[in-house]
Assembly symmetry: C2
Homo-oligomer: 316 residues x 2
């Protein structure tokens, strides 16, 4: 069965056509810039799907497609809120796409699509209880229970980035203070790095960034740690502690057998994962009395969302 | 079908015999003190079950029993760790009981039994995604997804009391700092009350407790708030805020349609629940964009654990 998956991001839409028998290796792939507004988005998605269908027509007709979007999507495929999408809110995306294309078009949150892709075709294949966490600018996540991606009443399950882990912590765009995402995402690493630089705890990194602590970025810390800078390693260790804390909180609730970590962190996996595993084991309840979940890097990379979207139609 | 449920507590064991067609109204009920040690516990449970079986023999033979224990229980019914049980660890309780009684004896964590009872015969009947939280001395919880109590890889799922919600918070017996249970349990209320009394923010309550801030207990605050003491109401509101925070964290992850609240708090439900609902709505992600879970008091009271234990054999 040939299906199309469309992963809507803040700046671009990535589309893939996959054979559902081998979804990890798309038959075709294409991207377009993300347009403003709901009508423009539907047009762009339909156009992208048409081109992908044409490119893989030799494999058979497209029987379904799926869309992943960054935001709150309910079970009917209505996008309620997409903080990273301009001029789009309360868009009945599934209904609009189904009407335009004549095939079923389920729509889900992009992090849930990631999770579905890793569950069906990536690092969590065959796992009953898993957690798929993407550490990017923010934190995206999908919770797998009973071999299915959990949606919850509204379809809003799987947003641990907004667990409050320090009520006195920095403000979050969501309106709260001290959300996990403030500490354990790319944005969190950048803040930890800036604070360390301002406190004079990142001398070599600050000097290499031009001497201004405000110019120190997360990637400067990662690069310096990679070549052995001790101060940079300390900052990365603090970052790993926060990642471990949130994963421990989630494990206390869900007790998954596998935690898949994706996003930019995966590129620095050798630097960060050992620290995450160590802090996690120390922070999770009864860490010495339990089997700890396997903590593995995501396998499907930046295509995971699109591949998962292509699998949505067969997901439930 | 007649089954027996045995709920092991730190000081007593409560046993019930139920007809599985009407589990909320036990046919018989009995309690014994909790003995020290694993062998003593098995003897006590077998004796209790025998007496319950004799008392309801007119209804038919007992076809199964179940046991709920306060601690970490794996999927094989092995009790790994029971902090509130003296001299008991690594006890293969299910195997020992099955051998002694000749019927299947599944064993689960007591909070999971609570959740199962409320799911099958109480406040969460027919609910697919629920959270059952018992606020007592500590916090017990059961997570329901897909209409089943979630166990996870080890059987240790549903321990949100040890979510870290403030890494600079008070130490927890579990070894961490700032676990949710340090704030949102009876112990948490007692600490909030003592801190308020020491800071001179609970004048009338402190005076009524004999003038010593160290003697102020949670129930003094609840009683004073019930008769309108404004300072006591402020402390209860702070307590409600912490409860709301943890429930918001859990809802961000699970998006349940129903949250059942049990334990001592239920007795003070009229005083505390409105504040919990208000703070929860303000703390949960996209609180104004989503349907909020129904927040309801538990229905089965102190028998919930035993009733749930009696239902374990039919749970999966």
């Amino acid at each position: 069965m040939i299906t199309i998956g469309l992963d809507v991001g803040g700046t671009k839409v990535l589309g893939v056509a996959v054979d559902s028998a081998a979804p990890a290796s798309p038959l075709a792939e294409e991207r377009v810039p993300t347009p403003d507004g709901g009508a423009g988005l539907v047009d762009a998605l339909v156009g992208l799907a048409d081109r992908l269908a044409a490119r893989c027509s030799e494999h058979g007709p497209v029987t379904a497609m799926g869309v992943g979007v960054p935001g709150l999507v309910d079970r009917s495929g209505m996008l309620h809120l997409g903080p990273h999408l301009r001029h789009i809110a309360d868009l009945p995306l599934s209904a609009a796409m189904t009407e335009r294309t004549g095939v079923p078009v389920p729509v889900d949150n992009d992090a849930n699509c990631h999770a579905l892709a890793e569950l069906r075709a990536g690092a969590a294949q065959g796992v009953e209880e898993a957690l798929v966490v993407t550490l990017g600018t923010g934190i995206g996540a999908g919770v797998v229970t009973g071999g299915q991606v959990l949606h919850g009443m509204n379809g809003f399950a799987g947003e641990p980035g907004h667990m409050i882990v320090n009520p006195n912590g920095p403000p979050c765009p969501c309106g709260q203070r001290g959300c996990w995402e403030r500490f354990a995402s790319g944005t969190g690493l950048a803040r930890l790095a800036r604070e360390a630089a301002e406190a004079g705890r990142l001398e070599a990194v600050t000097a290499a960034s031009g001497g201004d602590p405000d110019m120190v970025r997360g990637e400067h810390v990662t690069s310096a740690a990679a070549v052995g800078d001790a101060e940079a390693k300390t900052v990365l260790d603090e970052f790993a502690w926060w990642i471990g804390l949130g994963l421990a909180n989630l494990t206390n609730v869900l007790d998954p057998s596998t935690i898949v970590l994706g996003g930019g962190l995966v590129d620095a996996a050798d630097l960060v994962l050992p620290g995450v595993r160590r802090h996690f084991a120390a922070l999770v309840m009864a860490g010495t009395e339990r089997r700890l979940p396997e903590m593995v890097p995501a396998q499907l990379g930046e295509r995971a969302g699109a591949i998962g979207a292509a699998l949505l139609v067969t997901a439930s």
